[in-house]
Amino acid sequence: MEPLDRFRHIAKDQVKELTVSPELKQATLRRIRLEQQKSRKPVRWIWPAISSSAAALALVLVLFLNSGAFNMDSGSRPGISQGIDDPNPPNIAGEPPDPGFTVMNDPEAGLFSHHGNEADPAPQAYVIEGEPVPLPAYVPAGFQLRNAVMNESGRRLELQYILLEKGDGFSLVIEKQDQAETMDSPVIVSTEPLTAEWDYGPWHYTLTGQLAADEANAIAGSVVLPTGSETK
């Protein structure tokens, strides 16, 4: 038995006697009642303050909108969240669309989906939450990027690579994390199909597909920030 499978039994055994006593429940509910009493007190005087603040805010908003200062032109904002209704949105780095890509709006695939043509250019710069996504500089010979899909949250990018002659392929999922992890070396988490994971600063990479482990290592080792960017 794996140690952690045994841990499951040990842990359950350790805590099975631990239950919420009636005294603990009552003590908790007493504290909730105190919080309720605290939150009720300011009601009488707060409503006039809220309503006058709301009226002042509404007036400011009306004046601001009428002044024409607020420009709704979404084309000036680069970013992944725009373009879902635009049949030819700019790419997410804010530059004009590359004529080598056919941009498709596929709601099931995500906010945008790029399907490459036969002769794919090198992957474009991708941006997540304003930060350029570090991409592998090395891809095994013969493989080409065929598809790039961003999910709805805008924090998960999936790149799909294909080997044209054989139809083999692999996917590379890149996710933005809230804190940097320390798994610098790729870890092979399964072999059928090959799945390798590693971190690069706040970015987590998951590679899955028909590749050898040394190729996965080479891809992981080649991850770099796009030219001109700095790592946070």
């Binding site: 841990f7 631990l18 509910l29 996710e175 994971e197």
Partner: protein, 183 residues
């Protein structure tokens, strides 16, 4: 992306009004044991776990209006519990909390020597797991003790599923290295 405030299965009157004492009582009845036990896994002391328990439900009372129904109530409670425990542990860094390994039920199988050996091995494994780095321990407790799947753990911890899987993998590797208890 907008998150709609959706009333939970406990039927709030309005999404912005605080929950009633009755609702909190129902949550205590339904999830209280889970909260208390999870707090104990982190704090390793019953009294501290009970303090954390109260803090959790105070937070639940104050923050219920922010609860989004894209995760279950238990998932949300687990997240609050972990955060409360970590806050408490940060404050208690100067205090060495001795792990109390509770006496196990007597087992009729095996000689006294075998029972003692098994008990020692279990205690050492328990301590090794609770000594894992915090990020790995979170994933281990939620996966092996709470028996959550990785998507749910991802929601509790606020990290991608890939990160959860890699932390579990690292925890298994670390335990294989550090714990050489008999199997």
């Amino acid at each position: 992306m907008l998150f709609a405030l959706v009333p939970s299965e406990n039927k709030l009157k309005s999404s912005n009004s605080p929950p009633s004492e009755e609702l909190i009582g129902k949550l205590v009845d339904q999830y209280g044991d889970d909260v208390l036990r999870l707090a104990y896994m982190y704090l390793r002391d019953r009294q501290l776990a009970e303090d954390a328990f109260q803090e959790v439900f105070i937070k639940v009372y104050k923050k219920y209006h922010t609860f989004r129904k894209d995760s279950g109530e238990k998932t949300w409670l687990m997240r609050i519990t972990i955060n409360v425990c970590k806050d408490m542990l940060r404050g208690f860094w100067w205090k060495r909390v001795k792990t109390t390994f509770l006496p196990e039920q007597p087992d009729d199988q095996g000689t006294p020597e075998q029972l003692v050996t098994a008990r020692d091995a279990n205690r050492r494994l328990w301590e090794e797991v609770l000594r894992l780095p915090p990020l790995l321990k979170d994933a281990v407790i939620l996966y092996y003790y709470e028996e959550m799947e990785t998507p749910e753990i991802s929601q509790v911890l606020g990290v991608p599923e890939g990160t959860v899987r890699s932390r579990l993998h690292r925890a298994r590797t670390a335990l294989k290295t550090n714990w050489k208890g008999g199997d």
